[in-house]
């Protein structure tokens, strides 16, 4: 086989990979899309039926119960909680003071303990 032939082979294989690859990526994510669009609500519905009995209406159980409460509101609330719990830097006291924390005299720094070698 000549080098030229190898080269064209590579390219044609490249095209095959290009097309199949794109199709697989698309179909994979399409499958996920379809599942989360239709499959998941049905699954949740079935789950509700199993656990809560059949007396619930479909509308009540669908994940879109509350149209008013959108993801944006959820994000705003979670940001507020996050800021409150973790990011409260601005409430720190800006005034720095140096307090005399330790005692001036302590047995650890005392010279006299060094003198008493016979203590133990």
């Amino acid at each position: 086989m000549t080098h030229f032939l190898v080269f064209t082979d590579t390219l044609s294989e490249g095209y095959i990979i290009l097309v199949t690859g794109l199709i697989i990526v698309f179909s994979g994510l399409l499958l996920l899309t379809v599942f989360f669009k239709y499959g998941l609500p049905i699954m949740l519905y079935v789950y509700k039926i199993i656990t809560k009995g059949r007396d619930k209406k479909v509308k009540e159980i669908s994940p879109r119960v509350n149209k008013e409460f959108t993801g944006e509101i959820a994000a705003a609330i979670s940001v507020a909680i996050h800021m409150y719990l973790d990011e409260r830097h601005d409430k720190e006291n800006a005034i720095l003071t140096i307090k005399q924390a330790r005692k001036l005299y302590s047995p650890w720094s005392s010279k006299i303990y060094g003198v008493y070698n016979n203590r133990f």
């Binding site: 990979i17 690859g21 669009k37 993801g71």
Partner: protein, 439 residues
Amino acid sequence: MKKVILIFLVLSLLIFIRPVLGFNSNISDTITPTSLNITDTISEGGFVSEAINGIKQFYHYTGFANAESGNIIMILIGIIFIYLGIKFDYEPLLLIPIGVGVIIGNIPFVAGNQTGIYETGSVLNYLYFGVVKGIYPPLIFLGIGAMTDFSSLIANPKLMLLGAAAQIGVFATFLGALYLGFSLPEAGAIGIIGGADGPTAIFLSSKLANGINILADGTTVKNLIGPIAIAAYSYMALVPVIQPPIMKLLTSKKERLIRMKPPRAVTQKEKMIFPVVALLFTTFISPSSLPLLGMLFFGNLLKESGRTERLADTARTKLIDIVTILLGVTVGASTQADVFITKDSMMIFGLGAISFVIATAGGLLFAKFMNLFLKGDNKLNPLIGAAGVSAVPDSARVVHAEGLKADPHNYLLMHAMAPNVAGVIGSAIAAGIILSFLG
């Protein structure tokens, strides 16, 4: 800029002082002295000449004697990376470790003392092992999974297709690399730069273009991990520069003003089901991407289950930080000039830039295409298509900023996060497909 020039001047002064001192004359003679030679000269020469000889010998082991122009260029590039990271805040968590790594990897040294990253037994070589064997990328994905909130994607599943559309950059680059004469595995590894996902790029190149595998025609593949990783990370850092012009070019002012309705709230149950189902679907379709997607969704389940907060917390903070440090430094250090500065690297950089452009354009155009079928307030703002090139979360931020430029009250960040995380899944699937074809 002034500082860079100053550093450059100092470095060039140190290099050019070498011929002035006359140390260049007979490197090859003295660079391989045996112990016998040394004892001979000790008995012959005087003290002063001995000292000078010793200094000369020491000098031949220093970086100044062994420096080549390639090393200097790469060190400058490393400094530029650090500068970009600090000054412009372009992904500093990546650019600064990589920049330092580039400097570390290009300090000139005498080969054979277990110093360099490519010498077996050196410490850097051991750390680099995690890159060569593709250990670090799945660990990074674990952390990313524990950080990522998929709720905007669950709320609007059709945005997942935008993440798929942007993968056209991967396959287009793959084809471009084939045209430029790279072999199939090498082209596959180069193509994944278009996925705009550093860990995925490293994972795939460590499997395909690692310099170990043997090709069908008997030759060994080139080791392209360094150039591919550097290209992927530097273009990811440059997303705020690359994407806006393409966005402006491909969308009209009217389209940029489209307001999308806020995503619905997502229940915890859905969030818990998502990682399990997505893991099953994606890995059944493309089992080769199991290390990446398995860890990604595992991390996400740790986060969403609500019972493993400790594990999720470790995965998204300490663990990913440790791995990022090791990965950044070793990938940077793998750019040792004699391995890195080649024609191939230049071509990879060119292809990488093109792949980002194609991926962005693919996402934007596919969003416009989807708009043909959508009505009313379901219409998409085509800008979010650009976020389909993973590069989490930078490209989503860029989309948000561009949206704000068109309309100061149009907040696209939440919407853009959906194609953004879908892009991560998409590029991992694409990597798995390429791996299963060529691995």
